[in-house]
Amino acid sequence: MNHLTEEQFEAILQGETEAPEHVAECPECQARLAEKRALAQRLRQTFTSIQASSDLADRIRANVAAIADGAAATASRPRTIVLAAHRRLWSTLAAAAAVLVIALPVGLYFNTSSQAKAAQTELVEIHKRNVESLGELFVHEDPNELADYLEAKTGHTPTMLCPKSGLAMCGCSTSQFRGRTVGSYLVRGPSGPVSVVVIPDSPKSLGMKPEKGKQPSQPAVWRSRCGGCNMASVRIGDRSYYAVGQVAQENLDRVLTDLLAPCQCCAR
């Protein structure tokens, strides 16, 4: 008696073919088929009860919205140039219409620019609150505990500075940024305190300017200055890390360099 091959069993399970007559007459093939069906059913039963958390769903929706906002903001800028070029081509008769055409994107540009400035101001405010409310920060000597705290509060585990970096970790906190809860931590370097704020929004969407790394492998560092603070940002994974403080850009670079460097003792 020829029992069914594995391929035949799979074809039956997939609904490609009906079970041949042999199965009805062969207890062994019946049992094997029943067993395979039961395994598939048990696996299906296990996974259909699993759902993504509402927290994860919210985070993804917030990221989609943030990226769309950022892309829309970026999209508004070149339009201004294109329309300005068009304006030069039109005759005086078209001038009145051209004014209308130009006015809208210019308005959008300034709106975008003011939104970017407002976002930068929010980052500075987060830094200032971190410095002023030093005693209210969540403090732990182990950076992993701080990361766990922020993960619990924001749903994201941030990359932390190595304890051996020479920068003293003061603690971490959560704040509101563009209506969302975000995490940050405060470190104290030789020249003063620096906050590292971790958000999904790209530095481009915040109107910051890129500066390419000295080596091709080095990521671009985005820079800006707002409210008496310097700020620098790099992208790590799906988040941007903003170093903000009333210190020189070189001091911010030191923080970002440590964040980007692979570290044996921190397993990153």
């Binding site: 799979e10 997939q14 067993e35 039961a38 059913q41 699993i50 994860l56 919205a65």
Partner: protein, 191 residues
């Protein structure tokens, strides 16, 4: 004049309507690959961000879920490569597993009842012990009930490979559960 802005906002809206309803499916696939962990959350989130970035390449009317699974699989492989724990397609352990299974396999006496004794976590743990591509293939075939052609496209192999991989994966999955069953003293699964 605001086509660019409207375009981006419209893209985000279409993405929300087309891709986001598949969130649970993508998350389950991430759990199949990473287990119930923050890693599964991160893989799911990264998958959707990557999908949004590439949404212009998605053809409306085609299977969005399968498209998302393909992105998830590629990201997962990238992660494995970064961690330097994966070979190109992890074929070696598949072969070893298949050889082992052929020697040891016997049929369970009452599979349905026996399987009810396992917790969901044990089922997930048993699945997670399979080689990466076997794990995803079995998940896509048995849980998502995708066709072998769709699974072949997602995993980048021939349909014949999907068939043999599914068969080996199912056998190995059973072997892993058998080990748990023996540890717990269940009857009906003795070799």
């Amino acid at each position: 004049m605001t086509d660019g802005i409207d375009g981006h906002l419209d893209k985000a809206k279409r993405f929300e309507q087309t891709a986001l309803p598949n969130l649970d499916h993508v998350y389950r696939a991430a759990v199949a690959l990473c287990g119930r962990s923050n890693e599964a959350d991160d893989l799911t989130q990264t998958t959707f961000m990557k999908a949004l970035e590439r949404f212009d390449t998605f053809e409306p009317g085609t299977n969005c879920k399968a498209w998302l699974f393909q992105i998830l699989r590629n990201l997962w492989i990238d992660q494995l490569r970064r961690k330097k724990v994966a070979g190109s397609a992890v074929p070696l352990d598949e072969v070893l597993v298949a050889q082992e299974a052929e020697v040891q396999e016997t049929v369970w006496s009452d599979a349905e009842d026996l399987l009810e004794n396992f917790s969901d976590d044990q089922v997930i743990a048993a699945l997670r012990q399979l080689p990466d591509d076997q794990r995803l293939t079995l998940f896509l075939v048995d849980v998502e009930q995708l066709s072998q052609q769709e699974v072949a496209e997602i995993t980048g192999v021939a349909v014949g490979t999907v068939k043999s991989r599914t068969s080996r994966a199912r056998r190995e999955f059973k072997n892993r559960l058998t080990s748990y069953a023996k540890d717990m003293g269940f009857k009906g699964c003795q070799r």
